[in-house]
């Protein structure tokens, strides 16, 4: 795992709970301790958690029966001698987890083990599907991963573009998918008979980056992800916990009274490209099937249209970066989505423009990165589901 875990430890203090809740809590406490390699035998676990040794023995036996832990090898005896303790270790392949990301173009899924290692990937294009058709497609992608299971399925996590009520398990509004007040958790949990967790895509990307590190870096403490594709979404992971009120901010109006998603979204980029071709007839950009990679290539070769369009996009994005930096003071901002194909020089440009809008010192304290993995939201969905179900990751 990419982060220190001690801070999580403090979250584990129980409040008032039923006997069954307390038992579950204690099981998770022990599992976490072994998972994070904080203790690896019964005596050490009892010492670390403050639980009575018989309780620890009973719960470890349950975890071994469930296949989540296994015994293997002997540890060192203590300074005062005595019997060498039997070691226990976590079994990452005891269960599999499915994480799905629905974006504006496809349903992309990963099958992972409990350590977040990807076992299989499966996707299907949304094409023009909307509403109930998307729900059917979602189950067909989940089925594609169920066919590849090597272990019992623990739970499913699903990332959705739009406004999601994680706790209620309801997608309040997803314009792109044609969903409104959809009880997604209930529908999928009834269909697959396993726990299901949902979240906003950008929030799940933040969780993935927190859990597994950002591109070329270890996981930051305070991270903001800016997810730009057809729309614009913000995800926040603050000291290890996802902030659940991020998400779609495409409807935010910038100073020129335009919606953010109408300025930064891919549909707008294509429309601006078509407009600017009249102004720059000698462009090397293709008239059709434009991609962000074409814009990157064009800018690198001094193409005026590509430079103009990159500059516009950097200006809009810089406004968002300035707001986020001014309000939240994150130590890391990660740009994700297909826009990352514009490359590092685009990101540098965004940071420079943000410095001009805010105090340069504030922006210079922020590490900027590009999140290249197209699967990050699905990985985050799996990580979120594991986090919710076992309090791991």
């Amino acid at each position: 795992m990419g982060h220190s875990n001690i801070e999580f430890w403090s979250r584990m203090k129980p409040g008032k709970a039923t006997r069954e809740q307390l038992k579950r809590h204690n099981r998770q406490l022990l599992l976490r301790a072994v998972y994070y390699d904080l203790a690896n035998n019964r005596a050490a676990l009892a010492q670390m958690t403050g639980l009575a040794k018989p309780t620890v023995s009973d719960l470890i036996a349950e975890l071994i029966d469930a296949g989540l832990l296994e015994e293997g090898g002997l540890g060192e005896s203590t300074d005062i001698g005595g019997k060498r303790p039997m070691l226990v270790r976590f079994v990452p392949d005891a269960r599999h987890v499915i994480g799905i990301s629905l974006d504006t173009t496809r349903a992309f899924g990963v099958l992972s083990n409990l350590s977040g290692q990807i076992i299989a990937r499966h996707y299907a294009d949304l094409d023009t599907l909307r509403g109930d058709e998307v729900l059917v497609l979602l189950t067909e992608v989940i089925n594609g991963l169920i066919a590849q299971l090597d272990a019992p399925l623990l739970c499913i996590g699903v990332g959705v573009p739009g406004v999601v009520d994680n706790d209620a398990g309801i997608v309040r509004q997803s314009e792109y998918l044609g969903w409104q007040e959809l009880s997604l958790v209930e529908i999928l949990a009834n269909h697959y008979n396993v726990p299901v967790y949902i979240g906003n895509n950008s929030e799940l990307i933040a969780i993935a980056q927190f859990a597994f590190g950002t591109e070329g870096d270890t996981a930051p403490e305070n991270l903001v992800t800016l997810f730009v594709n057809e729309g614009v979404e913000v995800g926040v992971a603050w000291q290890g916990a996802a902030y659940h009120h991020g998400g779609d901010i495409g409807s935010l109006h910038l100073s020129n009274s335009q919606r953010l998603d109408k300025l930064l979204g891919w549909e707008h980029v294509q429309a601006r490209h078509a407009e600017l071709r009249h102004q720059y007839p000698n462009t090397i950009l293709p008239e059709h099937d434009l991609t962000y990679m074409h814009l990157r290539y064009g800018a690198a070769n001094g193409d005026d249209l590509a430079l103009a369009l990159n500059d516009e996009l950097a200006s809009y994005l810089a406004q968002l970066v300035a707001w986020v930096t001014g309000l939240l003071r994150p130590d890391h901002i990660s740009l994700v989505g297909p826009i990352v194909n514009l490359g590092e020089s685009f990101l540098d440009d965004v940071a420079r423009k943000a410095e001009a809008l805010l105090s340069p010192a504030l922006v210079q304290n922020v590490v900027f990165s590009l999140g290249y993995s197209p699967n990050m939201s699905a990985i985050g969905a799996a990580a979120y589901a594991i986090q919710k179900e076992l309090d791991l990751i």
Binding site: A124, D125, L137, E140, G144, A147, M293, Y297
Partner: protein, 269 residues
Amino acid sequence: MKPLLGVMTNNPGEVFQRNVIAGVEEAASARGYRVRVVTVPDRQVPDQSFEGLAGLLVIANAVPDDVLCRLYEGGLPVSLVSHRLPNLPVPAVAPNNTQGIAILVEHLVVHCHRRRLVFIQGNMEQNDGIQRDAAFQQELMRYNLNIPPQYILRGDFIPSVASQALARLIEQTHDFDGIVASDFLMALAAIDVLTAAGLSVPDEVAVVGFGSGPEADAAGLTNVAANVSELGRRAARQLMGQVEGLRIRGLTLLSAELVEGSTSCHADA
């Protein structure tokens, strides 16, 4: 009687297809299925080939699309290996071509500092060939590489075709320092041609190829290990899932990982 899965192939002896079939047979027998391999070298499939099948697995474009459409609409579970039907939601299994080519180009450009690249295409009528070609074009833009059109060679996934194309290029110019081949067998053929022409690998020309197999390992070829037997195992699981009632749409992707050999450079070069 154990349920029977059909596997349609146009060349069961060819390295790729042989390994796919081995993976299918392994996964099927582990779940109590039987496998019947049907060879259709000319894409003419007799109707009786489908009798008694619980499901059908088709490798690449061995079966014409209209026949596949008819079978799918008739309700027979079908899975495709490295092939897609444009207008039907028949599920498939394929290597992650985009990721694999990106890894190979990144290795040559970033780690081996090569920028004058030659690309040997696969069969441009097959999905894998088309996707790997598109991925290479994308990576050229990522690294701002400008290569002449004659550096894109026809290979057809046939080593002898790749050899001839490369030999013709060498007659015109030696001004390239890296070769990305759309499959590892064509990469090995390219190394033979380079060596015969007196060009040293990897000092003068670094060579990498997509996919892996015993031949690649024996030659120390730098490649992305898209495990072909695993492709077969995953495809069999997808098909058995459908036979057992799962309704599946889309593509199961196999990850590619760089395996550094002696034909390029080491990552810290």
